[in-house]
């Protein structure tokens, strides 16, 4: 076995293991906010390991560069999706995304509307 084969196998093991752990975490956690945490490692550590495995195998050929591009796309899209989903879940539960009087860090109900106002 060449060092390249060993490196590819190790990176694939790490990547697939992280992905499976994240899938189990999403299944087992309660509530949307807890579940959302587990999409993070799946799109950073897991996809980085798998993209690196492709790059180690192919070096920076067409397949390697496209694997890097897939990884970058997942890396950028996950925070956007997480933010949008968490905001949608909060609006779905409370009717608004803005903090309320009883929330942590809030002293009293504001006299004036928040800057920008509601966007709905």
């Amino acid at each position: 076995m060449s060092p390249r084969t060993v490196a590819v196998a190790a990176l694939l093991t790490v990547g697939v293991g992280v992905e499976l752990a994240c899938c189990l975490g999403v299944l087992l956690m309660r509530g949307v906010y807890d579940k959302l945490h587990f999409t993070g490692p799946a799109t950073t550590i897991g996809s980085l390991a798998i993209a690196l495995a492709v790059i180690v195998e192919e070096s920076f050929s067409q397949a390697g560069l496209k694997a890097l591009l897939v990884f970058l796309t997942l890396l950028v899209s996950n925070p956007v999706l997480t933010h949008a989903t968490a905001r949608a879940a909060r609006v779905h539960q409370l009717g608004t995304w803005q903090p309320e009087a009883g929330d942590a860090g809030q002293t009293a109900a504001p006299d004036r509307p928040a800057p920008g106002g509601p966007d709905r």
Partner: protein
């Protein structure tokens, strides 16, 4: 059956928890399951392109990565506005 195909089959098993998440719980929980399934299938397509030795198949993974972002945003907006 090379190491890429083995990794693909192992990764496909991760779709089962995502599917179960999509089938139960609150509607926002199901959306999270769908988004993670999109990321997992993107990586499955990336591994399949390598397993078949066709670099051009990687384009499918790239297209799915971009479309799952758009789809997730649309679903989140729909959940926020209309449900």
């Amino acid at each position: 059956m090379n190491v890429w195909m083995v990794a693909t089959i192992a990764l496909l098993a991760g779709l089962i928890p995502c599917g179960v998440t999509c089938l139960r719980g609150d509607v926002a929980d199901r959306l999270v399951g769908l988004e993670l399934a999109g990321a997992v299938v993107t990586l499955v397509l990336l591994l399949l392109a390598e397993a078949f030795g066709r670099a051009i198949y990687t384009d499918i993974a790239l297209a799915l990565a971009l479309l799952s972002l758009a789809g997730g945003l649309v679903f989140a907006r729909f959940l926020e506005r209309f449900l």
